[in-house]
């Protein structure tokens, strides 16, 4: 998978990130670097802190001093300015009843709309363009709540793209989709990334899919990074056995290792 040349500061730099939620340590000293244009996927067992890491990078959790975005400390960014640089697609975004696809995607223009103002023609045009780009033109009047899972995921992506950010944070972008739509969405993200020089930081549960699309992977377990590197370096039978307590066979594939679960032999 081709990598965009990295010029200047990395898109994301996390140094010694600690996060406590309600007194429980969730992340304990996480380091992470994502170069501009790169696709990095964070994997790890349930409760490893993947979503928390993404929330911290997206500015949704206070992480003073630990996170730098494109060379600027995240904490020094005003919220609107950060929103123009980082767009997040949550794991299961709220679908407001009655809201049309057009209106939902238009919410992505919020960081460009003056406080208490309204969207300009340019904002509406930008949204129509994104909708066309994602084959959603026929959907703009539809109510978001009536769309199928795959269509919805594309609309969530459209909202993030309408935000105009170059860094895309995707929390489990495929968790609600069947296998065909999973591939569709990831292909789309990869295509957009290559065409527009986006940087992608994602969390995923499907390890084979994760390995096929990521340039690099980071494995979290118990709130810390336990492995990082290219997919073949991270997706090994030993690491998966240790940290997921999973019995798997790793088979080399054309785009990355394929992880196949194997029923454990009873002792």
């Amino acid at each position: 998978m081709s990598r965009e040349p990295t010029a200047g500061a990395p898109a994301v730099e996390v140094r010694g990130l600690h996060v406590d939620l309600g007194g429980t340590p969730i992340l304990t000293g996480v380091d992470l670097t994502v170069a501009a244009g790169e696709w990095v996927t964070v994997i790890g067992p349930n409760g490893a802190g993947k979503s928390t890491l993404l929330r911290a990078v997206g500015g949704l959790l206070p992480a003073p001093g630990a996170i730098t975005l494109f060379g600027t400390p995240s904490a020094a960014l005003r919220r609107r300015d950060r929103a123009r640089v980082v767009a997040t697609v949550a794991q299961s975004p709220v679908v407001p009843p009655g809201m049309s696809v057009l209106d939902y995607v238009l919410l992505g223009r919020t960081p460009y709309i003056p406080a208490l103002g309204r969207e300009s023609t340019a904002d509406v045009d930008a949204v129509h363009e994104v909708l066309g780009r994602l084959d959603l033109s026929g959907f703009h009047r539809r109510e978001l709540a009536t769309l199928s899972g795959g269509e919805r995921q594309r609309v969530f992506l459209a909202r993030a793209l309408a935000q105009g950010a170059t860094l895309l944070l995707l929390d489990e972008p495929t968790s609600a989709l069947d296998i065909g739509h999973q591939q569709d969405v990831l292909e789309l993200v990869d295509q957009l990334r290559r065409e527009h020089g986006l940087t992608v930081l994602a969390t995923m549960h499907d390890l084979s899919l994760a390995g096929e699309y990521a340039d690099r992977m980071v494995m979290l377990a118990g709130g810390r990074v336990v492995a990082a590197g290219t997919p073949p370096e991270v997706l090994t039978e030993e690491l998966l056995a240790t940290h997921y307590r999973a019995s798997v066979r790793v088979v080399p594939g054309a785009h990355g290792p394929l992880v196949v679960p194997v029923r454990p032999t009873r002792p």
């Binding site: 500015g59 919220r79 975004p93 709220v94 809201m99 209106d103 129509h128 994104v130």
Partner: protein, 374 residues
Amino acid sequence: MTGPLPAPRPAGLLSAARPTGSPPVARPAGLRKRWLVAGLFAVLVALVAGVSLGPVSLPPGSVAAELLNLFPGVHLDSGLTEREIAIVTELRLPRVVLGLLVGGLLALAGGCYQGVFRNPLADPYLLGVAAGAGLAVTAAIALGGGGRQGTLSGLPMTIPLAAFAGSLLAVTMTYVLGAAGGRRGSPAMLILAGVAVSAFLSAGQTYLLQRNADTIQPVYSWLLGRLATAGWHDVLLVLPYAALTTVVVLLHRRELDVLAVGDDEARSLGLHPQRTRYLLIAAASLGTAAAVSATGLIGFVGIIVPHTVRLLAGSSYRVILPMSLLFGGAFLALTDVVARTAAAPAEVPIGVVTALLGGPFFVLVLRTARRVLT
């Protein structure tokens, strides 16, 4: 904050520009002209009907002419006698205008609470806000000696401020109690908390009334909700607070649409959801307080009107809020016509009429909102 940050992709960079000359096929949510016209028409109908109908029925055409005469430079012959003109301008008009203001405020506050709490059942009454304002006004009257000669007319202009303090106290209690069930309380929790707070504050009010029996009579009629004694003084009492509430809430109508996708998303879109929420709660509570100070406890307007608007005109707060203001005003002014003609010459308290309409409507909303609540 430019420096090393990459410039955001400008609008239109994603692909070649759309073919020029073709306007966008769909417009974003917003107040469509036909709904605005319908809302203004409803207000006008309520105004003319409210002034025409009553113990002395006046021809609507003459009333319309007399209303136009209020504008400088207009002199129409309405054919009304001096006495009838006095009925129009000094008795009925202020009453109708107060109805329009209070109904608009209660509906606007209801719609606003529904947005900030993301709760279809939120309403100034169910949240306990009105009870808080009611307790504060009762306390001010009972302990402060009350209005002139033991009546409620001639209350000082600061009464709405006391009511505002009471309503803020109530909404804070409801909010804190409702959130106690978890980091973010469920919609049902919030309403249950509102019911508890209402009961608590009403008990306080009853106690005050018992201890100050001499002031019971005026407060009691006020409790049931009344537009009856309205004069221009009451309109002036409400007007500044109504204006402030309306401006603040309507300015935030788009922010309320963003809040609909959740606090996390709103935050990652660059908003400060909690800050916006506190401001809007304060604004809606001020509006409720002003309405309660002038006309007592008139329930259900804040739930009937925004939900009807939502069903008819769409679910965007850019539509719901301005339309609630207009239709809420028209609704209450027309309800007042019913209240004073249904059992003429006696008057039914207007709060009784709105509750009669609102009870069944509430059940309807409850049925459609079941999915949200569970």
